[in-house]
């Protein structure tokens, strides 16, 4: 759970950085997308780097979901009779929403891949953008409800990262003192805000018309 989660944190940081290329304009964004496909050539075939990443992410996802299912099942078995009254005193909202938040993110990721990678669904005019991912991005986020869906997903992602970052460090045994624990909590805030905030910038700036075709 912790190791696959840390891999995802690395991935979303890289992904978020790439998205910000939209601020540098159409050419720069499309060039970045193209570069991802030719990265490592001629040592790697076309899209080779992307496929290595995809296989790695799929394996990490399987490990992550499998661990989550095992933990959820153990939790359900460990408390078959629920409390009539139960207060939460020491836990963050993010820590208590990891399971449903994770399911929400999984559903979002399926939609996100259909939207931009597998089918390239363009909600405004049906144009898949062809070799121009920049157009697909702008068309997508010019649709207000698409921006809302993405922003809600970023709230879910931010919550998941807030607890996930701390929890992974704790699971790996790196928070053995009050100071290191406080630092791990702070890291959770930083990762959550930087990633969820960074991802939210492009949809917002498209919607208000600053990033445009």
């Amino acid at each position: 759970m912790a190791v696959s989660g840390l891999l995802f944190i690395g991935f979303v940081l890289g992904h978020m950085y790439g998205n910000l290329k939209a601020f540098a304009g159409e050419e720069s964004f499309n060039e970045y997308a193209h570069h991802l496909r030719v990265l490592g050539e001629p040592m790697l075939p076309y899209s080779g780097f992307l496929w290595i990443m995809r296989v790695g992410l799929i394996l990490a996802l399987i490990a992550h979901v499998a661990s989550a299912v095992i933990l959820a099942r153990r939790a359900a078995k460990a408390r078959p009779v629920k409390y009539a009254v139960k207060k939460n005193n020491g836990s963050s909202i993010s820590s208590r929403t990891m399971r449903w938040g994770g399911v929400t993110l999984l559903v979002f990721i399926v939609w996100h891949l259909l939207n931009f990678t597998i089918v390239k669904i363009n909600p405004s005019n049906g144009d898949t953008g062809g070799d121009n991912p920049y157009h697909l991005v702008v068309d997508t986020f010019d649709t207000w409800w698409m921006t809302v869906i993405y922003l809600l997903a970023m709230v879910a992602l931010g919550l998941h990262l807030h607890h996930g970052t701390f929890s992974s460090l704790q699971t790996l045994g790196l928070t053995g003192s009050a100071v290191s624990r406080a630092r791990a909590r702070a890291a959770g805030w930083v990762v959550a805000i930087v990633v969820a905030g960074g991802f939210s910038l492009v949809p917002l700036f498209v919607l208000v018309g600053i990033i445009e075709k």
């Binding site: 408390r79 005193n89 020491g90 820590s95 607890h163 704790q170 053995g176 290191s180």
Partner: protein, 247 residues
């Protein structure tokens, strides 16, 4: 003060059980929570009803025998054990819901009493040091660094009451196991069995049916002895080291 109590009544391990409502009057703010239940039980005795069964022993907060989930909080609203909780923490007219610890490895024996033998079996699996019997060794013959000794001492305050399990949404006993691992692992006397200890205790913990830790932190907030969450990190670190070295 006058209170409404909603108490879990369950005749035996196989009974279904349910919440029953009782009224108690003229409760003094200086009474402990258990004394308030004693008042209720005297009333029930006079009426010829079965008194409410609950655990208690020392009633001075050091034995770990008392339990009770009080209004959804293990040991109630203060950072202490139920026996050291006083009625001044409540207001006249309050409704108080009292339930037993809820966990599959802590089966209900009767009413509010649960069987915590699972903790004993975890201790038996590795929560000890092996030492030759005989006269006590000279106290300073085994030096322990002060910071390690202090940390060991702080987490050795765990009284094994089970509040961590009761509060944990996953029903995990990781804070309890972590406290024992840290307590013994910080001291020189605990080193020879350190790595087999963590593997055996975690194995027994999982075997008993406790849930897995997701680092939520309810346990540390509920602990009457304020055992910090970093003992779970220590537990994970020791387990990782032990498994890496083939234990």
């Amino acid at each position: 003060m006058n209170l409404t109590l909603k108490i879990w009544r369950q005749a035996g391990p196989n009974d279904k059980g349910g919440l029953h409502t009782y009224q108690v009057a003229d409760i003094s703010a200086d009474m402990s929570f258990l004394e308030m239940l004693d008042v209720l039980n005297e009333q029930l005795n006079e009426k010829g009803e079965e008194p409410v069964a609950f655990d208690s022993d020392c009633r001075e907060g050091i034995c770990g025998m008392c339990s009770l989930m009080i209004n959804g909080e293990a040991h109630g609203p203060e950072v202490t054990t139920t026996c050291q909780l006083h009625m001044r923490s409540f207001k006249d007219g309050d409704t108080i819901t009292i339930e037993p610890w809820r966990a599959e490895p802590f089966p209900v024996v009767k009413d509010l009493i649960v069987d915590r033998s699972a903790f004993d079996r975890i201790i038996q699996s590795g929560g000890f040091i092996s030492a030759n019997t005989g006269s006590a060794p000279e106290a300073n013959s085994v030096p322990a660094p002060r910071d390690k000794a202090m940390r060991a001492f702080n987490v050795a305050t765990c009284i094994g009451c089970g509040a961590c399990v009761a509060a944990c949404p996953n029903g995990s006993a990781s804070l309890f196991v972590g406290a024992k691992i840290t307590h013994l692992g910080e001291l020189p006397q605990g080193q020879p069995e350190r790595w087999s200890r963590v593997v055996d205790m975690v194995g027994q913990h999982d075997h008993e049916g406790f849930g897995g830790c997701t680092n939520i932190g309810e346990c540390a907030a509920a602990c009457p002895k304020e055992i910090p969450l970093d003992v779970i990190s220590q537990l994970n670190k020791d387990l990782r080291t032990a498994l890496k070295n083939g234990h």
